[in-house]
């Protein structure tokens, strides 16, 4: 019998709009989580797929020693696709010309991800292929055709082997962003390596195993492989790679994660407010039902059924809207990028349903317990059961739930703790501030009967409710400002990495005598170029006279140090400079002094690895010649930039002590194509690396992520608006009563309207001001700690916060209560019941 009554009550309450807020809050939570997690997962999968192209696989294993064949066999047994790669520098010979080139030999499955781009001749159209050269064939990059004066179809000698040049190699997916090995690239079949006899014991060669498969297969294989990894073997995925792309991917993921967390927080606030409000609205019916003989069990059943029905219904609607939203967003992104985004898995479905259920249960728990406890005596004593103070238990449960939800969603305890703690600080400040402001307002002495004094009186009268509203408004505004500023900062930071007009071609191996001629060449053709850096290689041999023991890490997740430790075992490119390069920052010590001693500025990552201190003497082995350099400073280096960076920069007094080549970068446009050929023909020993494609790819991904962030921001904006709406709705009945009283006392409509408008304007302005201040402080920490972006203050949001808060809150608030104010007093009384 109670079921029928409960169902009827549910339908009626729903129809009357009593459940709308709670329904909207769960819908909001579910659709926010679903759309955000779906879109982030789809973008993430797409970016991962695209990023995998950059290493031509999903994971790779690198070493300077040959791998045991069993590693590949085991990978195949895990269901992974595999390919082998070997690369080394070697001389190639044709037409009496001898040129040092980078040789890469691959098995037929290469590339596992991405495509090779080739041309049939120097003048024909480029096209994509999925596999490298056949046996006996060789592909050369364009520069080599000029250096060796050869054409497609000619013969070429590599080591002891003779090959037919069959294609022009335009692009390899895993070509390095920046490498001093030049653009003289050669690709041949792995099986032809024996024929060249170029790889002998002790040869300087690099081996790579490439793997592709699904995440589970890759993880399973890595678990098997991990204990077998040797110190000279490195396991890498795209995210481990120190590249602009890898760094930006991490930042984008963190941003979307953060936006998701904010979505959860906003939804949780809406849910907590609406659940409490709904239960309070049910106090009278429950008291009446108890008076009429309804048992506690019956009442419990009725309202638990209500909760179950509203939760189920709203989760279904939330999933529906979320699905439509993410489909629209994904289609937009796909069109924007000219690609198809892969479908998300089941995680967003489970996650959003789980969070919807948890939100509904946890935020309703205490209000429902209060509701079940409403004494029947309330029918006579009307205020009995009203909670004049906010229940500490409700607040405690709500906060704990929000924290757990954020943790579950993010999987990152530290970021959750920081966000959560900063929010608690905001709430504490706001409560204190709101109480002070509302009590201080009494002393303003505004003339009685003015809209302003009425607005302030209303604010004071509802000090408790207003404090809660203020916290919600401020939280919503804070999160929106926070994301807006972060989005702008991250995107502008990315854009700074690849600014318009940045050099897109690196020129290497320039001899000292060619420098002035090439400068003139550029100048004659109005080609913008950067400075010419002297470049030489050197090995760290000893520190303070003590021979350095070389070691290589094999751990994952130590991105910054990973590259550095690898670097210790290689001969890094070194330079000497008079001035600190752009994008570098001294973290310790001083830039070079006027001392006669050779000084060195070291990348801070190497400071840790080599355990260096200021004043230490590093012995560098340059061309087998030991050079001592005193450490004068440590530097932060932005490896994300597409500019040449050096782990060690020596003082200018190194000039003349070692043989060097020069390096520069230039911006070459489409109109300069002929000039490039001319330059290569005139100076065949130089190498050019075209990074246009890499820049375009990076810019495309940045644009894609920027659009995604904008989309996420809109979702968070809608979520924030709904929090505001739910808050205003929660106070609507009280406002109606006030309007009735004021009208009865003869207040004019204009006075009431203006007072309402001013009240919301004041609330919005205060909330916006506090939100701006706290956002800016929190941004400083988050930017530095999590986004590796330079933290800076944003004075514009100190104005934007209160102004936008005032407009936003007053517009929504006024719109919500405008309908109420249109009703005549009689209708209002009826509506109040």
């Amino acid at each position: 019998m109670w079921g029928k009554l409960a169902f009827r009550l549910f339908l009626r309450e729903f129809k009357r709009g009593e459940l709308t807020i709670i329904f909207a809050a769960i819908v909001l939570a579910v659709l926010t989580i679903f759309s955000l997690s779906s879109i982030t997962e789809r973008i993430s999968l797409n970016i991962e797929q695209k990023s995998s192209d950059f290493i031509a696989s999903d994971r790779r294993l690198s070493s300077n020693h040959a791998f045991d064949q069993s590693l590949l066999e085991k990978a195949t047994s895990f269901g992974l696709q595999t390919a082998k790669m070997l690369y080394f520098d070697s001389m190639i010979f044709a037409n009496d010309e001898l040129v040092l080139s980078s040789v890469k030999a691959t098995t037929a499955a290469y590339p596992l991800r991405g495509k090779l781009t080739i041309k049939n001749s120097l003048t024909s159209q480029a096209y994509d292929v999925n596999s490298g050269p056949k046996l006996g064939n060789i592909w050369l990059s364009e520069g080599l055709f000029y250096s060796l004066n050869v054409n497609v179809g000619d013969n070429i000698e590599l080591g002891a082997g003779n090959f037919i040049i069959s294609k022009v190699l335009v692009k390899e997916p895993d070509a390095p962003f920046f490498s001093l090995s030049g653009n003289k690239r050669v690709l041949l079949s792995y099986q032809d390596i024996t024929k060249t006899q170029a790889v002998q014991p002790g040869s300087r060669v690099f081996h790579r195993l490439l793997f592709s498969g699904n995440n589970q297969q890759l993880t399973d294989y890595y678990q098997w492989l991990k204990p077998l990894l040797k110190s000279n073997q490195t396991w890498q995925g795209i995210k481990d790679r120190q590249s602009p792309l890898g760094n930006n991917l991490n930042r984008a993921e963190r941003f979307l994660l953060l936006a998701g967390l904010f979505g959860i927080m906003l939804a949780a606030v809406a849910m907590a407010v609406s659940a409490k409000r709904y239960c309070e609205r049910q106090y009278d019916p429950v008291a009446m039902m108890k008076t009429l003989g309804g048992s506690r069990q019956t009442i419990r059943n009725i309202y638990l059924l209500h909760l179950s029905l509203v939760t189920t219904f709203s989760i279904l609607v939330g999933l529906g809207i979320g699905y439509i939203l993410q489909s629209i967003g994904a289609n937009y992104l796909a069109n924007f990028m000219g690609t198809v985004l892969p479908e998300a898995g089941v995680r967003p479905w489970f996650l959003s349903i789980f969070i919807g259920v948890i939100c509904a249960m946890m935020f309703s728990l205490k209000p429902l317990l209060d509701l079940f406890d409403i004494p029947p005596l309330r029918v006579l004593r009307r205020n009995l059961g009203d909670r004049l103070v906010i229940s500490r238990l409700h607040v405690g449960i709500s906060f704990l739930t929000i924290f757990v939800l954020m943790w579950i969603f993010s999987g990152e305890i530290i970021i959750t703790l920081i966000l959560f703690a900063s929010t608690i600080v905001v709430i504490s400040i706001l409560f204190t501030l709101s109480r002070l402001l509302f009590s201080a307002g009494r002393k303003l002495g505004l003339s009685p009967g003015s809209s302003w004094s009425l607005a302030i009186a209303t604010l004071q009268k509802r000090a408790n409710a207003n404090a809660i509203q203020l916290v919600s408004f401020a939280l919503a505004i804070k999160l929106m400002l926070f994301l807006l500023v972060l989005k702008n900062d991250i995107i502008s930071d990315w854009q700074m990495q690849v600014p318009a007009g940045a050099p897109n071609m690196f020129i290497l191996n320039i001899s000292e005598r060619e420098v002035s001629a090439i400068k003139q060449f550029f100048s004659d053709r109005n080609i913008n170029h950067e400075a010419f850096y002297p470049v030489f290689t050197g090995r760290v041999d000893a520190i303070n006279g003590e021979a350095f023991a070389r070691r290589v890490s094999k751990q994952e997740g130590e991105e910054q140090e990973e590259g550095a430790r690898e670097g210790v075992n290689r001969e890094p490119n070194l330079t000497w400079l008079s001035n600190l390069p752009e994008g570098n920052e001294i973290t310790e010590g001083q830039w070079f002094s006027d001392s006669d001693d050779i000084e060195v500025s070291v990348f801070e990552g190497w400071q840790r690895v080599l355990d260096l201190e200021l004043g230490d003497t590093i012995t560098l082995l340059i061309n087998e010649q030991p050079i001592d350099a005193k450490v004068s400073s440590f530097r932060k280096v932005d490896w994300g930039s597409l500019k040449p960076n050096f782990v060690m920069i020596l003082s200018p007094n190194m000039a003349g002590r070692v043989p060097v080549t020069y390096f520069s970068a230039a911006e070459l446009l489409e109109t300069h194509t002929k000039d490039i050929s001319q330059l290569l023909k005139r100076y065949p020993t130089i190498s050019m690396i075209d990074i246009k494609i890499q820049i375009e790819q990076a810019q495309s991904i940045i644009a894609q992520v920027s659009v995604a962030i904008g989309f996420v921001l809109i979702i968070v904006l809608i979520s924030g608006s709904l929090v505001l709406i739910s808050q205003v709705q929660a106070s609507l009945a009280e406002r109606m009563q006030e309007v009735v009283i004021l009208r009865t006392l003869g207040a004019k409509g204009r006075l009431i309207k203006l007072a309402t408008l001013y009240e919301f304007m004041l609330l919005g302005a205060i909330a916006g001001a506090v939100a701006a201040i706290v956002s800016d402080i929190a941004l400083l920490v988050i930017q530095q700690q999590f986004f590796d972006v330079e933290g800076r203050m944003h004075p514009y949001i100190w104005i934007l916060g209160p102004v936008s808060g005032s407009i936003f809150v007053s517009a929504i608030g006024y719109f919500m209560v405008a309908n109420t104010m249109k009703k005549n007093t009689h209708n209002l009384l009826r509506a109040l019941g």
Partner: protein
């Protein structure tokens, strides 16, 4: 006129109610004793704050006494917990309140059906239609409280009070929120239905004239039973 028996519908034995305040215990009702015969009507009158609503809440089992007991239709309330008292209310008691206390999301018919549905009565709908017809609202069955006038809402509340044929009806200032004309209409309806159903009526009111229509009048002053006077209704002797 109802047939009166000699059985006590309500027996009030040394009823005392105290509440804790910052200044110590406050006695709201002190040692109240009286009884009401089945089918009788009594009015509880007194100034505001005299304790009459507290007395009503104790008589109806909505609150528990600090001392003493209330025996309703032979059932001692003091020994019962909240759930058992709810059962007593469901079985034996009807209520009419000053502020109507209708559930806003239910229609007039559904509000009247509510007590019967809570008690698991399968004939709730038929009974409710009959009662609404008796109070002259058969044309308002599907209207919500907000669509009814104050007088109509109170008539719905009266119909609700009589569903399930309660033995005792408690009415707390039933006409206080209504204009004179509607007030009289409601009072007449209440007494008529009370007589037709042989219900024991306990009426809390400020209105001396209304009180006089009952068999007896209980005067409460400062939490104490000041006197019991006779009304104009026929006494049971």
């Amino acid at each position: 006129m109802s047939s009166h028996s000699q059985v006590n519908a309500i027996q009030v034995l040394g009823l005392t109610k105290q509440v804790s305040t910052f200044e110590g215990n406050l006695t709201i009702l002190s040692d109240i004793n009286f009884s009401v015969k089945s089918g009788d009507s009594i009015a509880i009158v007194g100034a505001s704050g005299s304790g009459k609503s507290t007395l009503l809440s104790l008589l109806a089992g909505l609150d528990v006494a600090s001392e003493g007991d209330v025996v309703l239709d032979g059932q001692s309330l003091n020994s019962l917990d909240e759930e058992a008292r709810a059962k007593v209310r469901a079985d034996k008691i009807g209520f009419v309140f000053q502020s109507f206390m209708l559930v806003q999301s239910l229609t007039a018919l559904e509000n009247v059906m509510l007590p019967a549905e809570l008690a698991g009565d399968k004939n709730a709908r038929e009974q409710a239609i009959t009662l609404l017809d008796k109070v002259g609202l058969s044309h308002r069955l599907v209207h919500y409280p907000s669509q009814l006038s104050g007088g109509e809402q109170q008539r719905v509340a009266i119909a609700r009070a009589f569903i399930g044929s309660p033995k005792i009806l408690f009415a707390d200032e039933p006409s206080a929120n209504l204009d004179t004309q509607n007030g009289h209409l409601i009072e007449t309806l209440l007494f008529d239905l009370n007589q037709q159903n042989g219900t024991t009526l306990v009426l809390v009111t400020h209105d001396e004239q209304l009180a006089k229509q009952c068999h007896r009048i209980i005067h409460i002053e400062g939490g104490q039973l000041e006197k019991i006077s006779e009304g104009v209704a026929e006494n049971v002797g």
